[in-house]
Amino acid sequence: MSDKHSIPGPLANEGLPLAERGLFCDAPPRQYQRANKITEAFWNWARAQSLWILGFGTGCGAIELRPLMTSRFDMYRYGIQPRPTPRQSSVFVIGGYASVKTLKRIVRSYEQMMGPKFVVALGSCTINGGMYWDSYNTIKRIDQYIPVDVYIAGCMPRPEALLAGFQELKRIIRAGRGEGQNEYARKFEWYKANQKQVIKDWNMPDYNW
């Protein structure tokens, strides 16, 4: 997945008090190093078969995950299941509108997830602001702040739409096109600038790893 392998400079972590800066990682994210073609294809197949989603419900969309988990739509049969921590998850489902306060937690959780990681954004709120288009405290498109692999439109999208979205994500992963993590590393400064522009009280490390 990576084209060039450069090592960027350390992060300043200016949001933290001086005494704490040394306690946190100051390395920016790096791009994923691909293995050889056959191994990578096998891994991608395996990744697509076990999508572990972070149990972090943002916005109204979190409600739509419940029917998906239970017997009627049963996402487990597709190898999709929720995990309690970012470290164990590979898929982040942004379930709708994100207030600035939530965005801060979204960034934090996203950065803590192990690679390779993917983002599914549901609802019109994540795409163009939805009905929160004039809200003073809600961002209008999530892809300015973290990379998104699949959008699922609707307000709210039905569980069937979510399943279709997850199938799409699987196709993307199997084809080796799940580039979100690399894009985040490549355009890290751009993403950070966007995040800091709206999160005015930035009091966490620049890269939460």
Binding site: G129, D134, T138, K140, R141
Partner: protein, 177 residues
Amino acid sequence: MKELITSLANRYGVRDWKDLKAGQAACFVDSGRLRDCLRWLRDEAGYAHLSFATAIDQLERGVFTLTYALRNHERGHSLLVHSEIDRTRPVVDSIHRLWAQAWTYQREMKEWYGIDFPGSPRVDEEFVLEGWQGPPMMRRDFDSLAYSDATYAERPGRASSDPAEHMKRELYPEEQA
């Protein structure tokens, strides 16, 4: 009820008593006598429970209306005590010593409307917002759309249509012609 109305009027100049429905009434008191009035209602008149406190922005008249909802559980009666303060000098007595929970409402009103309650615990701390730098956002002269446009990136190509018109076009195209 008659006695209550007269003693409130005599003691604290309470006026504009209005029965809103069975078991609920509203009245008005000057902001300078608000705290004493609430104390008397709590201690002497049985309105021991503060259900909530909130503010209303009366932009046209240049005032904030404060509303304190009290309840007398013995009589099963609720009373909304209104009071007005100048919008340009929004300061009012804190009642956190009468009802301890009042500080939460006061902190909320401070953040949302910029109404100050001197002495109220943690009144200057953030309440629901984080890192907010704009003006108090529930004031009616705060332009949410302008703020949102200036602050949050937008995806181009967003259009809106009137739902009724749109559905007519979609469902009955033949009638349009």
